[in-house]
């Protein structure tokens, strides 16, 4: 991906975010859009971890949980402004990722998957069991960000849906921009080198453990911010955000769209977020269809949807 491609990716993403609302038949679609952007943000983080550095995590929902509950707890107990709580969540997630990443990232493949899975489940267990603090499985309310009121005072009236669509879209763009910058940076190159072969990368001087840890911490921060945004826009949060199935969904979105690319991540997030919305009529079949999509895409389009489609198109052009 050369520099030109970076701006194309960002341009496409920005255009999509800006133009989609023109086609929204009702306000409800802003909500769905915002949800897609939030999911896409955490998936962009996983693109860095899985796509760039070739590591895997089945526990990133744990970081989303930390981010979400930071926004729920910090304003209430520490008197922090919700915006600062997002930052606090990101810092806590980053530090946590650095601490557990050090021993965990020595592991490979299934072992790494299971270790991260264990971490994620422990986080969701703490959130579920510490009722006094988190309200247990019923969840808890999250304070308002306050920004929408501020905008209204300045004369800019936005509905809740529109406001969060905008905020999440902008944060996703920033996240995508940073991820694309990382791709061609020395760190990004080092990550991709160790993805190819750890031994080869270390012989040319890549500090393999350090780069893996960096990818892990960065992706944890992405997941945490996404969790925070989810909590803030819903005004409510339950421990499900940190659950195992959420981690699985995140990884599936990343691999579904094409794990190497930021645009693919957004695409994967969009499909998997829309699927339950489309299937609400067939709610009983939702699980069945979700599972089938996961299996079939992995078997028939192992590179993910977007790269497979792109290759098909290219093949036709030539």
């Amino acid at each position: 991906m050369a520099g030109r491609n970076k701006w194309i990716s960002l341009g496409v993403l920005a255009l999509l975010i800006a133009l989609l609302p023109l086609f929204f038949p009702s306000g409800y679609y802003y909500r769905v859009g915002a949800l897609i952007f939030v999911n896409a943000l955490s998936v962009v983080g996983l693109v860095i971890l899985i796509g760039y550095a070739g590591q895997i995590s089945l526990g990133h929902a744990g970081f989303a949980g930390i981010g979400a509950y930071a926004c729920a707890l910090a304003p209430e107990h520490l008197g922090l402004h919700p915006a600062l709580a997002v930052l606090l969540g990101a810092v806590v997630s980053g530090v946590m990722a650095a601490l557990i990443g050090k021993p965990i990232l020595r592991l490979k493949g299934y072992y790494l998957a299971v270790a991260t899975l264990g971490f994620g489940i422990l986080v969701s267990m703490v959130l579920t069991n510490e009722r006094a603090l988190t309200g247990g499985p019923d969840g808890m309310n999250v304070a308002d960000l306050g920004l929408r009121g501020l905008l209204r005072d300045m004369g800019w009236r936005l509905s809740g849906g529109e406001f969060w669509y905008m905020i999440c879209g902008v944060v996703l763009l920033i996240g995508a921009w940073l991820a694309l910058n990382l791709f061609d940076s020395p760190s990004g190159r080092a990550m991709r080198a160790l993805h190819g072969s750890e031994v080869a990368a270390s012989t040319v001087g890549v500090d393999v453990p350090r780069q893996k840890l960096r990818a892990f911490v960065i992706s944890a921060v992405y997941a945490s911010v996404a969790g925070s945004l989810l909590a803030l826009q819903n005004g409510y949060i339950t421990p499900d955000v940190a659950g195992f199935m959420h981690s699985v969904e995140m990884v599936t979105m990343a691999v579904l769209g094409g794990v190497g690319s930021v645009l693919g991540a957004t695409f994967g997030a969009a499909i998997l977020t829309l699927l339950p919305q489309v299937l609400t009529v067939f709610a009983e079949y939702e699980q069945l269809v979700l599972g089938l999509v996961m299996v079939l895409v992995m078997i028939f389009l192992p590179q993910g949807l977007l790269p497979s489609i792109a290759r098909r198109l290219k093949g036709r052009d030539e």
């Binding site: 493949g109 270790a115 990884v251």
Partner: protein, 290 residues
């Protein structure tokens, strides 16, 4: 002391189920290098199918046999339809495939049967047996004996029969096994069928104690995996010991520390094992080939 014994009894009972799930993991992992996250669904299927065939009027033993056979066929289908077509895919893809398959199985079960919890009668009644001041259910003895029987059966199969040795050979080196004329495709089929049957057997044994519902499989798969990892991935002895140990850890935690965090034990064990001795209790050290 009575309390300790009581906790150990219940720990050994759940532990035996974990051990059976772990044995199922081990068989598939050895044959195909795939960690099958749908392993817990086999246990669920074993219980659910028995419940519904039994309710349809069949005698319990027949219902159980049918459940085990059907589940075994589903295991084979899983291999044919989802694992074999993805041969050589990266670990992430295989993880998503088996998790996807487990979601499909759960979704289908919930559609075909229902979302309720079910049970069928215990094999030899529900009168607790008194041992040294503690009590144990007859069904618990069935579960523990079942796990031991499966373990011994597998041991005989792998060391005394030609087919079992073919499976071991495939586990060691697929290409070499093919070269000496072993049909490795058939070994895969056999492994998935066997592993699913063992899972279903566990489901049949434990349903009278713990009840069964369409969603009991996830937790079992994760715990069974923790057990397999504790014992050392790919080692049947490790799976048995790991399962029993994990069950006892859980029961002791629930008894002496906190029943809420009982579920956390498995994952703390996973993390601890991976940090301190990634090869597990009985595993062999592996080296990376460049």
């Amino acid at each position: 002391m009575d309390a300790l014994l009581q906790f150990l009894f219940s720990g050994l009972t759940v532990g035996a189920v974990y051990a059976l799930v772990a044995l199922g993991f081990t068989i598939i992992y050895n044959a195909s290098d795939v960690v099958n996250f749908a392993q817990g669904e086999f246990v669920m299927l074993g219980g659910m199918i028995t419940v519904f065939t039994y309710q349809a009027g069949l005698p319990l033993p027949l219902a159980a046999v049918i459940a085990i056979l059907v589940t075994s066929a589903i295991g084979v289908a899983l291999n044919k339809l989802a694992i074999e077509p993805a041969r050589g895919a990266p670990v992430v893809s295989l993880i998503i495939i088996t998790i996807g398959a487990s979601i499909v199985i759960r979704g289908a079960t919930q559609l075909i049967f229902d979302k309720q919890l079910h049970r069928f009668p215990s094999f030899s009644g529900d009168d607790p047996i008194h041992v040294l001041g503690a009590t144990i259910l007859p069904q618990s003895l069935w579960v523990i004996a079942g796990a031991l029987a499966v373990f011994v059966g597998l041991w005989i199969f792998f060391t005394r029969t030609l087919t079992g040795k073919a499976v071991l050979a495939t586990a060691n080196n697929r290409v070499a096994a093919q070269l000496v004329g072993i049909n490795t495709g058939w070994v895969m089929t056999l492994s998935f069928g066997l592993s699913a049957a063992i899972g279903a057997f566990a489901g049949v044994l434990v349903t009278p104690i713990t009840l069964v519902g369409y969603d009991v499989g996830v937790a079992l798969a994760l715990k069974g995996f923790a057990a397999a990892m504790l014992g050392g991935m790919g080692n049947p002895k490790g799976a048995l010991v790991g399962g029993l140990l994990l069950g006892c850890f859980e029961a002791l935690t629930a008894g002496y520390l906190s029943s809420q965090y009982k579920e956390a034990v498995a994952f703390i064990v996973i993390l601890g094992v991976l940090f301190v001795m990634p090869q597990g209790l009985f595993g062999s050290k592996s080296t990376e080939r460049v």
